[in-house]
Amino acid sequence: MKIVEISHVSRIYKVGDHEQKALDDVSLELENGKTIVILGPSGAGKSTLLNMLGGLDSPTSGTIKIKGKDISTLNADQLAEYRASGVGFIFQAYNLIPTLTVLENVALVKEIAKDPLSSHDMLREVGLGEHMYKFPVELSGGEQQRVSIARALTKNPDILLCDEPTGALDTETGVMVLKLLQSMAREHGKTTIIVTHNQNIAKMADVVVHVKNGKIKEVINNDKPLAVEEVEW
């Protein structure tokens, strides 16, 4: 089943008189349950594409269908609902709320998601069972990122969107986070889209999408994705 269908999507930023094409007539279809890595140099349009899939931004033209439903025409409230249940986000910056405890940071999504999972269970699954009552500042970067993974998964979304999830972490911690991401995605059957400019991460993907200058250069299907441990970092 096609979970993502992007057709002829452009995103144009107006900077003064100048028009900046962040995405230029992009079309792409992605299968359910796969791990997809979007690769490309800085400024290629990777984040723009991901934000569009996540309902943070709308295309200037073209349509984006998620599970057959067009999200490019939704209004602000409908988009919020889509974000609440349809997608989970993991950013380079962990974007946790500093005044809420780890558990509260995760549990807050239960107030809005349609079919949420247990936040306690999820925190235990990401290995933070011990730290539930701490505040984010009391955790390391890797631990904070795990909280944001737990928060994304608690919403029980179909798609996980990760923008440079390891960008702020050292290699070792990064590998651990990726391992967690991969195993969680498999276990819960999520479609995972990871934006990165780290070539190595691409080796664990089912599909690798190369983006450059706002266009998709190539889409490579990887028949034998490697497990995180098998990748040479």
Binding site: A76, A84, F91, N95, T99, I112, R151
Partner: protein, 757 residues
């Protein structure tokens, strides 16, 4: 270069800068405005008194003073000038107007200043010099003929000049009157020659004296010179003087009270806001440092922000201050209605300029203080983003209920507790807003209830007849009492120790006059004791059951009186029944009658009549004065509330921007996020209102204590005041809450989350 940064920074924090400028302008403006108010009065009132030779002492003898008496007084060592003086209330012919016909033998004492027409001539046997204000209100001009009737004699003549007089600065013809009525009342000066020509003689019951001698010395020397003790009234007891100075004192108290709140808010707002701005500028400060800018240079740069704000605020504030000052004291203001004087130029105390400069210095120092804490340590440390204090678990989180709270509630609670200074400022703003509202509506309630007590409960007659005590014989008075089925009163001057008061004896058969305590509770006039008013009770330290001695002015009579109860009274007086007076053997002459008749026939023994309605009308202008003040204060407090809350709201919003963006990304709807923000606002408002009510009552109590020498007020706050004040405060808070929370529609999620902190 740094100048460009200054301009851009101002652009970036527009809302904060504007609200700080407004706060400073309000603080400086209110401070200057209230000080201009009393200073303007002080200078112009003094000038008016000086211009017209306002007398320092008045020696009173109902039987009149002779030429010789005057000479004796004038030659007292320390007396600069003296004049025999006469002032009687007389009606205008065929009219209800009452004017005060006045003669001052030596016009340099208790005289007047001619604004229009010819100068005063003591030999003029025809002309009148008439109150300019009254003339204008009645379409009279120089050359017109004006006629009064006194004891069946017509006093008539051409108007020679339109004048103002310090003596009649507050032109009241009746002691229960609170506000002058310039349409119905005025004064008319004539020369001694005029009186002589009309009635063939002169009669002066007063000698007015200009002297800088202290009161005791004056009394001693006058007694020695005249060989007899007369009642000597010093200027402090003359309405024009005491009330005008009362206004100044009230102005000074307001000037000492209200601006403090605003200045405190301005300075606190400056500190909190500059602190927030310097937090968000922290990495920039670090960058400047690492580029090699010296600390001093950077500090100077940020000091420029503070200076910019305080200077803009001060300039605006001076304008606001002049506006506020003018609003209160200009010839067309209610004060202008009250005080009839020529000059109204605005003046401000010199020291207030020093205070304004000091405020500017404090504001700049506040800015420096906020920035300096961000620059501590090495450039590398300064480059580190501001690390908020680590979260600590609070006592409340250990409670069971905490667990069941929604995350929004927890978030808000922690946010409030974490940003203590911001929360404190918010609370302070709401409390101040509520406090001013409660105090200003409360003073209105209090005065209204005072007026109600007095006029609804105390005055039950329709007309008051003022008798001419010189011509009215006892038999005539008896006849009038029968004819109009009247109650009566007699008023005389008394002394308790050194202090002068009035003693009133009442013959009340119809209860046309009643005595009240707090909240209109009636007291009957006892037959074995007197009622004293609250102020006498306080000044003389008298309680119910005490006895005290009074001596009647101009006589050697002394009486022992027992305090039966304490009542409210407009004048400072001792009130007794005729029965008690007769028991004690007090000599009295009836001075006024109270009746339910409205048609009173003219008679030589009646000097004037006054209806209850006329008296009530004078209160209308008094309440107007109050209303103007209240509208102004309500406006100020609402503005204050909006500015403080908006500034803090924006700050809180800016600080939580990332968190709000995160909530949005996670899937919270705008409405939901708005509600969270408004919720926090609401809690603070509830708390602020709860604290503001007692604070307002407290301020009101202080105000009443300060007004206590003029009025016998009982703290009264109607439920409507609580409702309106609360509604207004919530309204302000809600409007600001909506204004701030609407902004979250514009949160750019992509932008907000792009860069790591």
């Amino acid at each position: 270069m740094l100048f460009k940064k200054l301009i851009r920074t101002i652009g970036r924090y527009k809302a904060q800068f504007i609200s700080m400028i407004i706060m400073v302008a309000l603080g400086v403006g209110i401070f200057l405005g209230f000080n201009i108010e009393w200073k303007t009065l002080e200078v112009n009132v003094a000038k008016a008194f000086e211009d017209t030779g306002f007398a320092d002492y008045r020696i009173v003898n109902e039987l009149g003073f002779s030429e010789e008496d005057l000479q004796k007084v004038a030659s007292i060592d320390g007396v600069d000038a003296a004049s025999r003086f006469l002032s009687v209330n007389v009606p205008r012919k065929d009219d209800e107007d009452i004017v005060m016909l006045t003669v001052s033998e030596n016009i340099a004492v208790s005289g007047f200043k001619v604004l229009e027409g010819t100068a005063y001539d003591p030999e003029d046997t025809e002309g009148l010099w008439i109150s300019e204000r009254y003339a204008k209100q009645n379409g009279l001009s120089v050359g017109d003929t004006y006629t009064m009737v006194y004891k069946n004699i017509e006093f008539s003549g051409p108007i020679r000049g339109l004048v103002k007089s310090g003596e009649y600065m507050i032109c009241l013809v009746e002691k229960a009157q609170m506000m002058p009525d310039h349409e119905k009342n005025g004064f008319v000066y004539v020369s001694p020659a005029y009186i002589k020509a009309k009635i063939g003689m002169t009669f002066y019951p007063q000698i007015h004296v200009r002297s800088s001698l202290p009161k005791e010395t004056m009394i001693e020397r006058a007694e020695a010179a005249l060989g007899k003790s007369y009642m000597i009234v010093d200027k402090e007891l003359v309405t024009s003087y005491s009330e005008a100075h009362g206004e100044m004192t009230e102005g000074k108290t307001m000037a000492a009270l209200l601006p403090v709140i605003f200045l405190a808010i301005a300075i606190l707002t400056m500190i909190t806001t500059m602190h927030r701005i310097s937090i968000s500028e922290k990495t920039q400060i670090g960058t400047l440092k690492s580029l090699g800018f010296k600390d001093r240079r950077i500090l100077r740069h940020y000091a420029a922000y503070g200076l910019f704000i305080s200077l803009c605020g001060t300039i605006l504030g001076v304008a606001v201050g002049l506006g506020v000052g003018y609003f209160f004291v200009n010839p067309n203001s209610v004060m202008g209605d009250y005080l009839d004087m020529e000059h109204w130029e605005l003046h401000m105390p010199l020291w207030s300029i020093a205070v304004v400069i000091a405020i500017n210095v404090v504001l700049v120092l506040a800015t420096l203080y906020s920035v300096a804490s961000m620059m501590k340590g090495t450039a590398a440390e300064a480059l580190q983003p501001y690390a908020p204090k680590a979260m600590r678990r609070m006592w409340i989180e250990k409670k069971k209920v905490w667990k069941n709270l929604s995350f929004a509630t927890k978030w808000n609670v922690r946010d409030i507790l974490r940003h203590k200074s911001r929360s404190f400022m918010t609370l302070f703003g709401i409390v101040s807003c509520m406090l001013i509202l409660i105090a200003s509506f409360g003073i209105n309630d209090t005065l209204n209830s005072y007026i109600d007590d007095f006029f609804e409960n105390s005055i039950c007659y329709k007309t008051k007849i003022v008798l001419d005590t010189e011509t009215a014989g006892d038999a005539d008075v008896e006849a009038l009492i029968d004819r109009y089925e009247a109650d009566w009163t007699s008023s005389m001057g008394i002394q308790i120790g050194e202090n002068t008061y009035a003693m009133e004896i009442y013959g009340l058969e119809h209860d046309y006059f009643r005595f009240v305590k707090n909240h209109g509770e009636h007291i009957d006039l006892p037959d074995d004791g007197v009622l004293i008013c609250e102020r006498i009770a306080k000044k003389e330290g008298l309680k119910v059951g005490d006895t005290f001695t009074v001596s009647v002015y101009g006589t050697t009579e002394k009486y022992e009186l027992k305090v039966a109860d304490i009542a409210k009274s407009i004048a400072e007086s001792v009130m007794m029944s005729d029965t008690y007076a007769e028991k004690l053997g007090v000599q009295y002459r009836v001075t006024e009658l109270f009746t339910n008749e409205t048609e009173i026939e003219e008679s030589p023994i009646i000097s004037s009549t006054q209806t209850k309605q006329a008296l009530l009308d004078t209160f209308k202008s008094f309440s107007e004065l109050m209303n103007v003040m209240i509208v102004m204060l309500v406006f100020i407090s609402v503005l204050l509330g909006i500015v403080v809350l908006y500034n803090l709201g924006i700050m809180s919003y800016a600080e939580r921007y990332r968190e709000l963006a995160t909530l949005k990304v996670v899937g919270f709807k705008d409405r939901h996020i708005s509600r969270i923000l408004i919720d926090q606002n609401l809690w603070m408002t509830i708390l602020g209102v709860l604290l503001g009510i007692p604070a307002g009552i407290g301020v009101l109590k202080i105000l009443l204590v300060m007004l206590a020498s003029d009025y016998e007020l009982t703290l009264t706050i109607s439920w409507l005041t609580y409702v309106i004040a609360t509604a207004l405060t919530f309204g302000v808070s809600f409007i600001v809450g909506v204004m701030v929370s609407r902004k979250n529609k514009n949160i750019d999620m992509v932008e907000a989350l792009k860069v790591a902190e």
